[in-house]
């Protein structure tokens, strides 16, 4: 799936990264808990979240997440958008709730990320 398709499916508005809409995404994750995102998300992922603060971008940067979707029509601050622009992460605002946005992407064939092994299993 491309970011352009994600935008269409989620009725989204592209806030950052209009020139990167043809980039592919392989997986997705819906979470407001950045601790969880850091623990299991893979690269080339879309992060769908209702949490709005600069650490959403910072977390995404560390994980090579390529696209962040802010759900329920939330609009991030200029500071957040500037950070995303600087590190090349596409930012979308969608009117859908996190649950519905995840459901729509899954229905259209975008799989979720599988949790990594627990430390005691490594």
């Amino acid at each position: 799936m491309t970011i352009r398709e994600v935008v269409q499916i989620l009725d989204g508005k592209v806030l950052v990264g209009k020139d990167r809409l043809d980039e592919p995404v392989d997986t997705a994750c819906g979470s407001d808990l950045m601790s969880d995102v850091l623990a299991f998300v893979k690269e080339k992922a879309v992060l769908i979240t209702g949490l709005i603060n600069p650490h959403v971008v910072r977390t995404s940067e560390m994980l090579d997440i390529t696209c962040i979707v802010f759900s329920r029509g939330k609009m991030p601050s200029e500071e957040i958008l500037d950070m995303a622009e600087e590190v090349g992460i596409t930012v979308i605002s969608s009117p859908l709730t996190t649950y519905t946005a995840c459901g729509e992407l899954y229905l259209h064939g975008l799989p979720g990320t599988k949790p990594k092994k627990k430390p005691e299993e490594v």
Binding site: D32, L33, S35, V37, N53, R58, T59, E61, K117
Partner: protein
Amino acid sequence: MAVILEKNFPVEAGAFTTAGEASTTIKRTLKQLGVNAEVLRRVSVACYEVELNLVIHSLGGTLTLLVDPGKVTLISKDVGPGIPDIEKAMTEGFSTASAEARTLGFGAGMGLPNMKRNASEFDIQSEVGVGTTITMSFALT
């Protein structure tokens, strides 16, 4: 082996606004050195987790990046308060994080286990009233 690079990053207690800046710099530095994407990602995640821990839990500390031909090493050394029960702290879901940290989406008790999961080697030493030192290495081959 000869150290190619050594850099120290002071991390201030409670500095939530700037938390992650050291990790961003470390990630960019390693990328410029040509560290492969998979290792870079693991270093970055562990680095960000440990930097957040310094901000959330410590009284302040230093993050040190060491690069030698075979591995990347991250050392987090703080000046307290120390961890009374390391085994408990290493348990997924256990957290003593503040409400402020939780509001930002952290403090779920995933940090230390996630560092261990991402590092090739992980060591934690702590003494209450003295401080905590976490050493993580990441093999480059």
